[in-house]
């Protein structure tokens, strides 16, 4: 029995962290997002602690840096898809979240309009709790105060670059306010100090750091500094999971070579070489099917695997197919996921 029944048995060996230090790479495409898979990683890392680590790993602290999705999204998805209460984990000091979406390129609203925001925050409690039980609604409850808090934190836009990491009100929630890689590093290290208290190993999840490259005026330079940041962080953090986009247009270089395509291509290739395990999610090659959400391909980087590691069950599996495993998955309406071999959809 897997430690969390929310993780399908076929997937179980792959979402567990290897025993030794490793970088894991997760790629997704436009029509097939890998958020559900990130959630499964979070589940595996955070959940095993509560179950006494029967699944092989003793669990890990998690720092999630998300450049594309807000905290609410992850909270909801973790609860629905993985039965995981990120809020609780955060309070317990096993989870920290760095929000690299909300303030990365969005400046604080102009001064003098705080009244509107204030009323919004004040009104929120009466409009929202009535809405009923489903967890989807809690977004509404939490968002306005967060917005107000964010505004409060940014009242002096000058000189908050260094202090920004501490500007978030609840512990374990951090907001990235500049696309500067040095700032990202500082924020991640601050977040790390939030979770590093209990002596367990740490998993850093970087969700779409390639946004930083794409939005940069100098993609190549950002790429270089991002890669060196990754390596620097890897010396302190044993496990890093990087989620990037791997869409064709981002990787195949068009004839007048565009810097963002070039940088994205380099980023992905470099990461793939560094990674212990690559999980790539894509849509079905043959078109859309009702009972299949997408294809998941898992490749173990055998050259760097020195006989250490994974769960024994996976060991033999890896022996049989060096080329990697390919399975199909389907996300259920309730957020649960089914993972199956080709042709075994109905079983």
């Amino acid at each position: 029995m897997p430690p969390s029944s929310r993780i399908p048995p076929l997937l179980q060996p792959y979402v567990g962290l290897p025993k030794d230090k490793s970088i894991l790479l997760l790629t997704s495409t436009l029509g097939a997002s890998a958020n559900w898979l990130v959630i499964r990683f979070l589940c595996d890392a955070l959940n095993t602690t509560h179950n006494g680590g029967e699944g092989g790993g003793e669990g890990a602290n998690v720092v999630l840096v998300s450049c594309m999705r807000e905290h609410e999204f992850w909270k909801q998805e973790a609860r629905k898809g993985g039965g995981l209460d990120l809020e609780k984990c955060r309070r317990e000091g096993t989870f920290a979240f760095v929000d690299a979406l909300s303030a990365l390129f969005l400046d604080a609203p102009p001064q003098g309009v705080g009244v509107g925001m204030g009323t919004q925050a004040a009104r929120a409690p009466q409009t929202l709790p009535l809405r009923g039980a489903p967890p989807g609604r809690t977004v509404l409850v939490r968002e306005p105060p967060a917005a107000a808090a964010r505004q409060g934190a940014q009242t002096d836009p000058a000189g908050n670059k260094t202090a920004s990491a501490s500007s978030s009100t609840p512990a374990g929630l951090y907001t990235l306010q500049s696309a500067d890689v040095a700032h990202l590093k500082a924020t991640v290290l601050t977040a790390l100090s939030h979770v590093c208290t209990n002596g367990r190993k740490t998993l850093l999840v970087l969700d779409n750091p390639d946004v930083l490259i794409a939005t940069s005026a100098t993609p190549t330079r950002t790429l270089t500094s991002l890669m060196s940041l990754l390596l620097t962080l890897h010396t302190q953090i044993p496990h890093i999971l990087v989620h990037t986009q791997s869409d064709d247009p981002l990787l195949t270089l068009s004839s007048p070579q565009q810097p963002i395509e070039h940088a994205q291509h380099n980023f992905l290739v470099k990461l793939a070489h560094m990674s212990r395990r690559i999980l790539s999610v894509r849509v079905l090659d043959t078109g859309v099917a009702r009972d299949v959400s997408g294809v998941l391909r898992i490749t173990e980087n055998t050259s760097s695997v020195g006989g250490t590691g994974l769960i024994p069950k996976d060991e033999e599996e890896r022996e049989t197919d060096k080329g990697g495993t390919e399975v199909l998955y389907r996300i259920g309406g309730d957020g649960g996921v089914k993972v199956f071999e080709r042709g075994a959809g109905e079983s």
Partner: protein, 403 residues
């Protein structure tokens, strides 16, 4: 005004919702909210909970487009759509106009980037009450004769996902319910804008730096200043078109930062803001990394690929008017849907992989299955004409079998 009369309770709203509304009603007073609102009115007009997960959605103004949006039967608040169009046509513009007009009619705050008041004056008006009423009567009578097939036809034409069924049926039986959420517009008419500031025209500054910072600031200011339950709609026609945007705006650092910030803004106001953006794909092909990033940063991505139609055919069909209104004018590709794809393609969505085609008639924009276009024509002459135009493809033969 005509639409006020129809303001009756939404049947789809859960009973818990109506209680909330009663509490909210006194304080909520957007311009179009009727003062005589009964306790069962929704807090914000034009917003209803999604049948899938209850998140608030609003209409795009195009019923068939609402039907495509992953069963939510509307555009979830806090999300954006990116509509790319191939070729030099303007098929996406009516979609934007319907979206804006729906916002104006519902009392939402509409923001239009880079366009002036002329654009606002071109918004389609609400289809006339009497005419549509008569049509409805017609529909009812026809249904008495062959209700089963009639329902089927509407179901198809509205591209029936299960959640959409109510919309389709509403046409015939309870049009008033549907009208509250999504009005029927007529491109041939002009919407008379309410006095005051129904539409906020955000100019594109001619600066040497990124033009988007000023746009964002304008939008943020409006959002912060408006009442907390006002719903905002952001319309960005022809993003990056060289005609209206300064030459350096297509730089990734400029436009992608803007879209990222817009995404953040949408998430910051998850119950108050939606956006639809169109982009000319001929100038910015989907095979480039820039456009792909724009798509990744948007919540929903559609692509319009109009068929190449010769002028001769155009002339021939424009004379025939009604019969050929239903003939598809291009393919409508769905690349990404809001919420649905973010969750990893949750659940089996009916008909997601099907070929869709769009039809823009004088009055409305319809997205329907390509293989089974809604067929109105039933006389011999019309069939012959269709066969002639489409060059004797499988389509008319199928019709022959059916009728």
């Amino acid at each position: 005004m005509a639409f006020r009369k129809r303001n009756v309770a939404l049947k789809r709203a859960p009973s818990g919702e109506t209680n909330d509304n009663a509490l909210l009603d006194p304080s909520s007073s957007p311009p179009a909210t009727p003062a005589t609102a009964s306790a069962s009115n929704p807090p914000t007009p034009g917003v209803r909970p999604s049948p899938v997960d209850g998140r608030p959605t609003t209409s795009t103004g195009t019923p068939s487009l609402d039907g495509i949006l992953a069963g939510h039967a509307g555009l979830p608040l806090g999300t954006s759509l990116l509509i790319g169009e191939n070729g030099t046509t303007e098929y996406a513009t009516p979609l934007l106009r319907f979206y804006a007009a729906e916002g104006v009619v519902q009392g939402h705050k509409v923001h239009v980037v880079g366009m002036d008041e002329v654009w606002g004056r071109m918004l389609p008006g609400i289809a006339e009450e009497r005419g549509s009423g008569k049509k409805r009567e017609d529909a009812k009578e026809r249904m008495k004769i062959a209700w089963r097939y009639e329902g089927l036809g509407q179901f198809e034409s509205a591209r029936g996902a299960s959640a959409n069924r109510s919309t389709a049926q509403a046409d015939g039986s309870s049009a008033e319910d549907a009208a509250l959420f999504c009005h029927t517009f007529d491109l041939a008419k002009r919407l008379t804008l309410p006095v005051g500031t129904a539409i906020n025209y955000i100019p594109i500054p001619r600066t040497t730096s990124s033009p988007f910072a000023a746009i964002l600031q304008n939008l943020q200011r409006q959002l912060a200043l408006s009442l907390p339950n006002t719903v905002h709609r952001l319309v960005i026609p022809s993003l990056l078109s060289p005609a209206i945007y300064p030459p350096h705006s297509p730089q990734p650092s400029s436009v992608l930062q803007f879209l990222h910030a817009l995404r953040a803004l949408l998430r910051q106001y998850p119950t108050r803001l939606t956006a639809i953006i169109t982009i000319p794909l001929s100038l910015y092909p989907r095979s480039t990394g820039l456009v792909r990033w724009m798509e990744i940063l948007s919540d929903g991505v559609f692509e319009l690929s109009p068929f190449a139609v010769s002028l001769h055919e155009n002339l021939a069909t424009s004379a025939g008017a009604t019969k050929d209104e239903e003939r598809p004018q291009g393919m409508f590709a769905v690349h990404k849907l809001p919420v649905f794809h973010e969750k990893g393609g949750r659940g089996g969505l009916e008909g997601l992989g099907e070929d869709l085609a769009f039809t823009l008639s004088r009055r409305k924009f319809v997205v329907a299955k390509f293989s089974l276009p809604p067929v109105e024509g039933d006389t011999e002459a019309q069939e012959a004409a269709v066969r002639e135009v489409s060059g004797g493809s499988a389509m008319p033969r199928k019709e022959e079998l059916e009728f």
